[in-house]
Symmetry: C2
Subunit: 468 residues, 2 copies
């Protein structure tokens, strides 16, 4: 060691030693879920899973890391946000960035002809976290996709129906689903005189219309992206159009906007069919046919959609999706499998649910599901409390007792109230001698003494009353 090296070593040791006294930390952009947050999360997942299952979807799971090759070249510029694993000798690996590319890899790898699947899992992005807005580096995605060759627009209608049911069932308030068609959008740009090479960049400018005024978007089109002003103005007159599906359809036909444009007319025809199916499902009122909806991702090839909340000023979508008929081909030598799907913005939904619970707009959520608390007065009753709990557990009743020898009544009662446990059983030496237990229905504030042999039945009766 040179003296210089010695100094560095000393410093390193010093820092390591002082580090021992620091509080442990989390990686940037990640979070722990505490018990109450988990209860909210589980509630949301339960609602979402139930809708997926209601529509006959299966679920699959893929690993959190994939070969780096699988992920690279799929996300354009965003590839820089992919977490890579260290090269520890072996394969080069990376954490998944979304659930869609692994799904495409899955379809190609097992040669899956058709599947209706959902997948709930964590994904990873080395993005700038904004944790108070629900933007993390580790976050959940909830995806539903229908892959396979089916009747025109039928899986698309089903996907939108699934999305409405989820948003209806979640306690997050009112919403609206904006809908458009990638081919209609391209036709619109074509008709206005936008060159085909500029379709995607101009789309990405249009995509900002939910956050920025037209004047600013126009400037981007003309000054940054070199679109003639007259073309931008024509686009400007169309992108403001939005209405109920049938109403806007009627207007577009009356104004002959797409008349004579083959791709445009075909897209309109497809949408017309889709709107028939919306009527069969009774969801027209939840959809806004909106010519300004563009969606950022390049891989969409048909219907695109995005849900926003209408009760709040917060911008941004809480669910979105579309048809992507050419993505699987990347993994299967061009053998495409048509697919349509949606993704639920579950982290934002958690935040909204937590907010609404805090504001008491929706019912509180409990950390545990405990139904019965077994309390005792006086000493030497620990084994009795254990035996009673055991009896309750055997009957699949969720029960708890305090893990101390002689618990004070105050401490037991506090636990019952804080945890919101609906039933409290109390025993003392008298009760044990008589072979009875006192059963308190906490919200009805009723207490009855029942024989120990009738305990299970009595508890079940009370629980049934609160089941709704």
């Amino acid at each position: 060691l040179t003296p210089r090296n010695g100094a560095i070593e000393y410093l390193t040791r010093f820092l390591a030693a002082s580090n021992q006294n620091k509080k442990p930390k989390l990686a940037k952009g990640t979070r722990d879920y505490h018990a109450l947050q988990m209860a909210v999360r589980e509630k949301a997942f339960k609602i979402i899973r139930n809708v997926f299952a209601r529509h006959g979807a299966v679920t699959i799971d893929t690993p959190v890391f994939e070969l780096k090759d699988t992920l690279m070249g799929k996300y354009g510029e965003d590839s820089k946000l992919i977490y890579e694993l260290a090269d520890q000798g072996g394969e080069l690996l990376a954490l998944r960035y979304d659930l869609t590319v692994p799904f495409a890899r899955y379809l190609a790898m097992y040669n899956v002809g058709n599947i209706k699947r959902y997948h709930i899992g964590k994904v990873y992005r080395r993005d700038n976290p904004a944790m108070n807005k629900g933007r993390f580096r580790e976050f959940y995605q909830c995806d539903f996709d229908i892959a396979g060759s089916y009747g025109l627009m039928i899986p698309d209608a089903e996907t939108l129906k699934v999305m409405t049911e989820i948003l209806d069932d979640l306690p997050i308030g009112n919403y609206c689903i904006k809908l458009n068609h990638r081919k209609l959008l391209d036709a619109m740009l074509d008709i206005c005189g936008c060159p085909a090479a500029k379709f995607r960049p101009i789309c990405s400018a249009i995509d900002k219309l939910d956050k920025e005024p037209w004047s600013k978007v126009k400037t981007e089109m003309v000054e940054e992206k070199g679109l003639p002003e007259a073309v931008a103005d024509k686009i400007g007159k169309l992108v403001i159009l939005k209405d109920e599906p049938r109403a806007l359809m009627t207007k577009l036909k009356a104004d002959a906007v797409f008349k004579g444009h083959k791709a445009g007319e075909q897209a309109l025809q497809e949408l017309n069919l889709l709107f028939d199916y919306f009527e069969a499902f009774g969801i027209c009122g939840k959809i806004s046919f909106d010519l300004s909806l563009a969606r950022g991702l390049d891989y969409y090839t048909g219907v695109i959609f995005e849900a926003v909340l209408t009760d709040t000023n917060q911008v941004g979508s809480i669910a979105a999706g579309g048809r992507y008929d050419n993505l699987v081909g990347i993994f299967s030598n061009g053998k495409d499998i048509p697919a349509v799907g949606c993704s639920i913005g579950i982290e934002r939904i958690f935040t909204i649910m937590e907010d609404r619970i805090k504001k008491q707009e929706v019912a509180a959520v409990r950390e545990t599901e405990t139904e019965v608390f077994v309390a005792s007065v006086g000493g030497n009753l620990l084994s009795k409390r254990m035996a009673l709990c055991s009896k309750l557990w055997s009957a699949d009743i969720k029960a708890e007792y305090l893990y101390v020898d002689k618990p004070k009544m105050q401490r037991q009662l506090t636990h019952v109230l804080e945890a919101g446990i609906p039933i409290m059983i109390v025993i003392g030496e008298d009760e044990v001698a008589k072979g009875v237990v006192k059963v308190k229905d906490m919200s009805a504030k009723e207490e009855v003494e029942v024989p120990e042999t009738a305990l299970i039945e009595h508890v079940k009766t009370i629980l049934k009353k609160y089941e709704c």
Copy 2:
């Protein structure tokens, strides 16, 4: 570029190009879960979660990656199995190796005084995978722990009760839980004349007794670890002792094995108390007090236990745990929080469940939960099928239909049979005109015609019949 470099570049490009034609691959030691495997996995998780909830546990979640510092120095030699993330500028991160160290970090970070929590999550180890035996590089752990200062042996008894309920509820056959006490083990070694410095290495030799004969273990003790043969022989006479908790306790007292050894007598006293609680819980018959149980991990400080299946020849534990009173202190400047917990070997359980389903020893599992399939005969009934499904979905009934315009009856029936859907609804133009639907109860092979207005009620009646 020198010619040599050019050649390498050419080769690289050639390999990359031919790689495009290869089937996509998974990272070594990882797997996709297909729909049926997921159904088995979800069934197991549901059973396990229900037991945790039945005992009033909350659940928490921690990130998949932690600061590298948090994980390093906690796993001894196994630290080399930790997956590190690439240094992409920023923090040094690593994938979690288990759920226990993140739990200890969690307790210290938020200064949690007591918590009864479960955590189900994926962990990562760069180990040699043996995937047919259920050993993966990405795999699930299901942990239950009680942290906090409570009455002696009460949380320990609860943890073992939880373990028995999970193993009883899972369809995996009969099992036995081996139990010992780290302090009793140390006392035993001490009494036999083993020097304290050799306690842990000798323990790790004893730990192999479930896979190797005594002669081999003795050789390891004497030749590798330098224990005098007489000491090894003394140990050999004790480690063969195992019996029902009370029976072995009586024998150890009668033989005065630990008499006069303070720590040994204290451990026996603790176990005696624990066995009282086993009696209150009625689980004595599931426990084998076994002096050969040592458990590999260094951090255990009290009771240790391990469950093995008794109907199969497969060795290895399917659940294990113990008390670790000094682990949290590492993260909180020595401020310890006593804790006891168990971990369920869920990947092995998945494998066992899949095997038993294949052998038809337990009931088959369905990929989907679909309750009703809506079929049609003839054409032009797509919207009607959609409307009927919509009605069923509104009543929270799980329903499906084929996503094609004019499905053939054969194709619809095949789907119903393959997916094991219990109810099939059939409509034709006649039925629609009359406002009725045909409802087929698939397993009863009964078909009735009911008015469309009575459909929901009728379907619910059939479903109720098949519940439970």
